[in-house]
Each structure stands twice: as C-alpha cells, then as structure tokens.
C-alpha cells in the first residue's frame, strides 16, 4: 500500500514568486492522479517537491505516513520519469536500468532478472545491449519508464513524459503506460498540460492555476461539471459568453435563454456539443463563419449578431455553409458568477456521430 499525502504545501522561490500556494492532495494506493494546468501553474514544481528536487517553503508531505518533506531525492521511495528522458548516453539500456540496483547492492543475477523482466514489461525485451542513442524517442521514453519501475518505487512521478513525442506515439504510449500502471497497481502522480492525456489516463484530475487547486475530480466530472470558469475554459472546448441575467433570463445579442438565478452579470458556459444548430433564413441568431469537417463530426464557427463567436458541434457539417443564417438552441448550460458555478442544467448528451452510428 502506498499513499501519498500532501498537506498545505507552498513553494516561494527566492525571487518572491509563489509557485505553489497551500496545496493539499491525497493520492490513494494504486491511483493515477494527473496534475493539469497551463504553463506556470505550479504543477511541475509540485511534482519536483514530491520527488525531492525542490524543498517546500512550508507544508508537509508523507508517503505511507512517513514524513518525506525534507528527505533528499536519493533517499525517497519515488521514481521519476522526466520529459527529456534523461537517459545516460554513456551507458547502454541494461546499464541505465541496472545503475540504481547496483547502488542498492542488489546481487548481479537478481539485477539481470529484474532488468530483463522490466524490459519485457515495457516491450523492449532483448534491447539491453543497445546504446540508448540508437533508440527512437518512444523507445527512449520506455527505457526511462523502465528505469524507474525496476526500482519498484512506492510512488511513480511522471513529468510530461510524452511532451517530446509525436501525437501518434503519444497516444500509443499513454495507453501502454496506463496499462502498466494498472497492472502494477502503482500510485502515480502525472504532470501534463495536455487535457486529452489527463482525461484519458487519470483516475482523478487536479486542475491547477497560479499554484492553487481549481478543481479535483474524476475526468468525466471535470469535463461535464467544471466548478470554475477557468476549468470550464481549460478543459475541452467551451463557449464562454459574458452577459446579463434579468428576471431569470440570460440575453445576448438577440438570443435569450432561461437561467433562473438572481439578476446580474453571468458567464454562460456551453459545450459545442450542447448547441443545436438549425439553418434559418429569417430570425437567425447568427451566421456561419467557418465549417471544419473532422470526418466523424463537424465544428461550426458561428458569429452572433453582436459579433460574439461560438462553436457548435454538428453531425453533418455539409449542411452548413459560411455566411448561412442559423438559429441555435442550447441543450445544457452552466452559469458562473464571481468565479463559481451558480446554475447548471442537466448533463449534455453527446451528439451522435455519423461514423459511430454507421459502425
């Protein structure tokens, strides 16, 4: 059992920058938690503090109840996979993996058995004698992962491990890493700024902004029920429309929809898949600006009467042309005021994609 607890951890750099501000998180045994946020949100600093490469200014971190706040990285039961792989090019694959075991004075035959086992696990069986410079980016990242796994760490830390890989390889590797993590049931903290990575891999997502937590939830909840306008805008595509509610009705550029909250300014958040578009020559709410066909669905870029831009997901993009008038109906909305959600309709049912229906 390996449980990571982070309590009120802050990091203020000598130049006065607050990178992490009173951050708390409990990661359960075998759980994969993604730290997600834009650049400068403090997610990497937090991960480095868990790895021991940065010392918190204040707060407490424990692994299985043991205080590790001031423990140096070489004495922590954590294993980190770096963005740039950080393999040692003067060693071959086997030696890269065996180095940590040798430092722990593990017998040679045991080292051989464990290294070969982990190489098989990451799909690189028989690659031990290869120079790391002869490997592709994906293979190098697998070696980096294997180097951490071979030491059987209590907590696995992944610092944007797929950032330097192409999209195709990234998608394949994240599935493999998720499989390995679930097979080994290893507690994992994963830093990424890629929301698709977080949504597809995590048991829970921590959305961070300016060193603070915006929301901690399951990926589906973070996507469907974002608690703040920042999370709403950061995860997936979201239409955020500023407007005013009067007498329970939100109005904007000739379009209105009921939002039963007190009068005042609100930010309306609507997913593109929650917007139903109908072609209209009269009483249009806006006109089509651009249509993008993604094969499985289309994304229509709309311009409302006052110039506000919106996106709508449509199953048949060929029905819409630039300049065409459209009316819109919103199937699900959320309203935010003062940075918090104040109203939400039901969960959006995704639009049926032609490709999926055909299948």
């Amino acid at each position: 059992m390996s449980v990571l607890k982070i309590k009120d951890v802050s990091k203020i750099f000598p130049n006065g920058t607050t990178a992490v501000d009173s951050f708390s998180l409990d990661v359960a045994d075998g759980e994969l938690v993604c730290l997600l946020g834009p650049s400068g949100s403090g997610k990497s600093t937090l991960l480095r503090m868990v790895g021991g490469f940065e010392t918190p200014t204040s707060g407490l971190m424990t692994i299985d109840g043991e205080d590790i706040t001031r423990v140096p990285p070489e004495k922590r039961p954590t294993g980190m996979v770096f963005q740039s792989h950080a393999l040692w090019t003067h060693m071959n694959v086997f030696k890269n993996l065996a180095f940590g075991l040798k430092l722990r004075k593990v017998p040679a035959d045991e080292i051989k058995r464990r290294v070969e086992g982990v190489l098989e696990l990451v799909g690189l069986g028989g690659y031990g004698t290869r120079s790391v410079t002869q490997l592709s980016g994906g293979q190098q990242q697998r070696v980096a992962l294997a180097r951490s796994l071979v030491l059987e760490p209590k907590i696995l830390l992944l610092d944007e491990p797929f950032a330097s890989l192409d999209q195709h390889l990234r998608e394949r590797l994240r599935e493999e890493v998720r499989d390995i993590q679930q097979r080994l049931k290893i507690t994992t903290l994963f830093v990424t700024h890629g929301q698709d990575e977080a949504l597809s891999m995590a048991d829970r997502i921590v959305v961070m902004r300016d060193g603070k937590t915006e929301q901690i939830d399951r990926p589906d909840v973070v996507y469907r029920e974002p608690q703040t306008p920042f999370v709403a805008g950061f995860i997936g595509t979201m239409n955020l429309i500023e407007g005013v509610v009067a007498n329970g009705v939100f109005s904007k550029a000739g379009y209105s929809t009921p939002v039963p909250v007190s009068d005042g300014p609100v930010t309306l958040a609507i997913r593109p898949e929650a917007v139903d578009l109908t072609a209209a020559s009269q009483n249009a709410h806006g006109k089509v600006h651009r249509v993008t066909d993604y094969g499985t669905h289309g994304l229509v870029d709309l311009e409302l009467l006052d110039g506000t831009r919106m996106k709508a997901m449509v199953p048949h993009p060929d029905l819409f042309k630039p300049g065409q008038g459209v009316t819109l109906a919103l199937r699900a909305v959320a309203a935010y005021r003062d940075g918090a959600v104040i109203y939400r309709t039901g969960v959006v049912t995704p639009v049926s994609h032609p490709a999926l229906v055909d299948a």
Binding site: M80, W88, H90
Partner: protein
C-alpha cells in the same frame, strides 16, 4: 510510332565548383606548413644526419644516443615529466571542483568565483613570476607576515621544482576551468536529477555520471595543459632550479650559452616527441566528439 525531331540538345549547365573554401583556408594552412611543419621536418632531418670526415653526410642517431645516455639531459627530461605530471594532477584536483561548483551552483558568489578563476589568464607569466617571488620568495610577504607573529621562516618553493609547479598550475587554471566548464555544460540537470532519483549520492553521481560524460573534456584540458607545461619557458626559467631544469630553459641554455645548436635541436625534437603524444590524444578526442 513517330519520333519528333526536337533539334539539338540544349547545352547542359555546367556546375562549376569554385574553390572559395579552400582559398580561405589556404593562408593559415600555408603559414602552419611554413612556420610549424617545415621546422619540424627540418629539425628531424638535421638531427638524423652527421657530417662525415670527407665533408659528406650520413644517417646517424648519434645526437639522440647522446641525449638518452647523458645523465644531465635525462634528469632534465625526467624533471620536465615530473613537473608536467604533477601540474596536470594538481590542475585536475584544483579545477574540477571549481568547474563543478560553477556549473551546479545557483549562488551569486559563483560569478565572483568564475571571475577569480579566469583572472590569471590576464596576467602575463613574467608578472606572475615576480609576484610569486615577492609573495613566496625569501623575505617575501608570507615570510614577513610569519615573522611579524613570531613564526619561523617558510622553506620557500622559489628555485625548487615546486616553484614552476605552483606558477604553472596558477597560470593554467583559467583554460582548464573553461574547458571543464564547457564539458559540464553538456551534462543536463535532468540527467543529474535522474541519477539522484535512482539513489546516487554525491560521489556516485560524480564517478558514474558526471566524470564519464566529461571524460573528453578532461582529456582535452589535460592535453592543452600538458602541451603548454612541457614546453614552458618563462616560469621554469625564473622560478625553477638551475639544475636539473625543465626542457624549455635547458634548450635555451644549450643553444645560447653552450652554442650547441644541433644538441638544442635534438632536445627540441625529443620534447616535440612527447608533446605529439598528447597532441594526438587531443585530435582523437576532437574527432570522437565530432563523430558523436
């Protein structure tokens, strides 16, 4: 099937390769050939032939057999080798920690340390020599300070083999630090952190990760230092003992005072022979780096 007559073929544009690159390097190459390569060849030829009784010339390694059988020449050579070896070792011992500190320290003090380490580069050897005498020589600053607090005289390294060693080490610190620092620049922070992450302490990190990664830079730094130290003149001449002496002052004295030019050239060829070994180390290292 008909074949259209398209007339005579258009002339193919000839792509003339103009030797601009070669012209650019021609001057330095010619200068090196004239001022370095030719004197070497000339020296080897001069020392490999002797004038016979009838005025002709014959191949003979007489001057070399004299050098390698003469106790004084051999003690000078061994003194030069000792000085070079000790200096190279001391340079590594002194410069590696400085370079490591400069590479991995975030402290503001690092900038001042770097300034101090590079400072000897701007001090001419002759000034360094006299500064050394004024500080460490008999009745120098150290002596005066010790006397003022009632402590005995130091045994001054001036005019002992340690005189040139101290001077040459001080003189070679900047270049050695800069070369090592450049090598350490190729050791990424993440590879160091990855080593610490798998459990490497400071010594394991240095021995297993950093040193292997900068081995080429160490070789280059040592080659440069050795090449300079082996043929050094000013510092050994002013600070070193009269006998035995290093090859630089030895050659000069043989040539100027004993007027034995052929013997001096032989000494130069022997010195060159030792230096070329380190030169080859350097060339091999550069070639290896380029191949990598």
């Amino acid at each position: 099937m008909t074949i259209a007559n398209t007339g005579p073929l258009a002339p193919v544009a000839t792509h003339r390769r103009r030797p601009y690159g070669l012209l650019l390097v021609a001057t330095p190459v010619l200068l090196v050939a004239w001022l370095v390569i030719w004197p070497i060849i000339s020296a080897v030829i001069q020392t490999a032939f002797v004038t016979t009784a009838d005025g002709g010339s014959a191949v003979s390694l007489e001057t070399y057999s004299f050098f390698f059988s003469d106790g004084y020449s051999l003690s000078n050579l061994s003194m030069t080798l000792w000085t070079t070896g000790v200096c190279a070792a001391l340079l590594l011992v002194v410069c590696l920690p400085i370079a490591l500190y400069l590479r991995f320290s975030d402290s503001k003090v690092a900038a001042y340390v770097q300034g101090l380490a590079i400072f000897p580069m701007f001090v001419p050897s002759i000034i360094l020599s006299f500064a050394f005498i004024r500080v460490l020589g008999p009745n120098g600053t150290v002596d005066l300070l010790l006397n003022s607090v009632g402590l005995p005289h130091i045994r001054s390294p001036y005019l002992t083999p340690w005189g040139p060693v101290i001077g040459l080490v001080w003189d070679n610190i900047p270049l050695t630090v800069l070369i090592l620092l450049s090598g350490l620049g190729n050791v990424s922070n993440q590879s160091v952190e990855a080593a610490r992450d798998v459990g490497a302490g400071k010594f394991a990190l240095l021995w297993h990760i950093i040193l292997p990664r900068i081995s080429n830079s160490i070789l280059v730094a040592i080659s440069f230092a050795v090449l300079g130290i082996f043929s050094a003149f000013t510092l050994p001449y002013i600070l070193g003992p009269a006998a035995p002496e290093m090859m630089g002052p030895f050659m000069q004295r043989t040539f100027r005072e004993l007027l034995e030019s052929k013997t001096a050239i032989t000494q130069a060829v022997v010195t060159f022979g030792f230096c070329i070994v380190f030169g080859l180390f350097y060339v091999r290292s550069v070639a290896k780096n380029r191949a990598a």
